[in-house]
């Protein structure tokens, strides 16, 4: 049998996006990393990190983290949902452009995971200070991977086909 499209591609995209959306909640509620300084343990969630960065005067980085870890994953998930619902009825040119944007911004959402892994690798000062990844970052990494899978499963040819059909 010859498949022109990835079979049940839309279903997969919806399924992966939904899974990403579900895991997005624990990723934001639970701490992503904990820092122990002289026995003083400090856990922070993504949002707490953003607020801390903002109040400590690095507003630029705060906005970057907010964009990369909250706005972009959400935009990606809802963008894919939108595509899955409207690929039959809406202008394919517009949707193709949207898919392009989704692919483009998706790369940035892994920033948090890199940040935590670099911090954990760098700050291992034994008893004085340590940084440990927490369950939130695992959920977050899963969100990012799932959105990547979701957009990879969306076959852009579905949009072209719509073009040819409507004309």
């Amino acid at each position: 049998m010859l498949h022109v499209h990835v079979p049940r591609g839309i279903q997969r995209t919806v399924a992966f996006s939904l899974a990403a959306l579900v895991l997005f909640i624990p990723a934001n509620v639970f701490p992503i990393l904990s820092m122990s300084r002289l026995g003083h343990k400090n856990e922070s969630t993504i949002m707490e990190g953003v607020v801390e960065l903002w109040t400590s005067g690095t507003q630029g980085i705060a906005i970057l983290v907010l964009l990369c870890s909250i706005v972009i994953p959400l935009a990606k998930i809802f963008g894919l949902f939108y595509l899955c619902v409207t690929w039959k009825t809406h202008s394919s040119k517009q949707n193709s452009l949207l898919l392009g944007y989704i692919e483009l911004i998706g790369r940035w959402s892994m920033l948090d995971v890199f940040l935590v892994s670099i911090l954990v690798a760098l700050i291992k000062l034994g008893a004085i200070a340590t940084v440990q990844p927490e369950i939130g970052i695992v959920a977050f990494a899963a969100v990012v991977v799932l959105t990547m899978l979701a957009s990879a499963n969306f076959d852009p040819r579905l949009l072209w086909q719509q073009e040819t059909k409507t004309t």
Partner: protein, 287 residues
């Protein structure tokens, strides 16, 4: 080429469920497990008000028997600025510490003549220490500023002046510290100074209605023809003052709580020879 596969694809999409739906199902189950585990590990939230937070910050630990049993979540000021309200989350296993009668105090380094305490908090973080009560569960408390005092009986000492006597001035009996001054204040009519002395419960039976209290803040030198007599208090008493007490050999009744004595400025040598025998072994029965 484009027409047949399109029809085929549509058919497949509408009729059969993709195996990919397993993924969101797993995600939902995992999230639920995480939330349930989190909810189960959450202990009660307590509120403790302190007149001085002593440098406690968010995430400062709450300690019991040397183990961390909770963390401070929020600090805020009472509306009238009179106290600092500390909100803390206890661990699930420590929920039984939040009971009526529990005492909470902040451990911070303190160096005084009574000794050095809270040394671990010079480098480490300051923490809240808890001593559990045995009442019914309660979640709002008033913090204490000091570690739990040893159970004490209070007496009032009336003196013409409280010079050399401050909070913490020790009270000695035969050179042994049996209590300390907790407050010094003016009497209601301002004619005398009122000193509240707390005597540890285990020594309380020593204090009788006919006991004598005198001020030993200083050195007393009597120079006469027969020689020089020097009365000196213990060195710490010289620095932070001190009160000595004595009970006559024919001791009176045990003084009740709040009983008032006169604080004398001088003592008679005969008092030092008093040797009453007081049974301290059965302290509970004397309360």
């Amino acid at each position: 080429m484009s027409e047949t596969p399109t029809a085929k694809l549509k058919e497949m999409q509408s009729n059969r469920l993709s195996i990919a739906w397993v993924v969101p199902t797993i995600a939902i189950v995992l999230s639920l497990v995480l939330f349930i585990r989190w909810e189960m590990n959450r202990g009660p939230e307590i509120t403790v008000s302190f007149t001085d937070a002593n440098g406690i910050t968010i995430d400062s630990p709450i300690m019991f028997r040397g183990a961390i049993v909770g963390r401070v979540k929020k600090l805020s000021l009472q509306k009238d600025n009179s106290t600092v309200i500390v909100r803390a989350r206890l661990d699930k296993t420590a929920a039984s510490l939040a009971k009526r009668g529990s005492r909470w105090w902040i451990v911070h380094p303190s160096v005084s003549l009574q000794g050095i305490s809270g040394l671990d908090t010079i480098i480490g973080p300051r923490y809240i220490q808890v001593s559990p009560g045995d009442g019914e569960p309660s979640f709002t408390f008033e913090g204490s500023q000091k570690p739990i005092p040893i159970e004490c009986k209070s007496f009032t000492l009336i003196s013409s002046s409280a010079i050399g006597i401050t909070m913490g001035t020790p009270i000695y009996y035969r050179g042994i510290e049996i209590g300390s001054v907790t407050t010094t204040e003016l009497a209601k009519n301002a004619a005398t100074a009122r000193i509240v002395a707390s005597i540890q419960n285990m020594y309380a039976p020593i204090v009788r209605t006919n006991s004598k209290f005198w001020n030993v803040s200083g050195i007393n030198i009597d120079a006469g023809l027969t020689g020089i007599t020097l009365h000196s208090a213990p060195l710490t008493a010289l620095i932070r003052g001190g009160i000595t007490m004595a009970t006559p050999t024919s001791s009176g009744d045990i003084a009740p709580d709040g009983f008032a004595f006169t604080l004398l400025e001088e003592f008679e040598d005969a008092w030092l020879e008093w040797t009453p025998e007081i049974d301290l072994s059965n302290v509970e029965g004397t309360q």
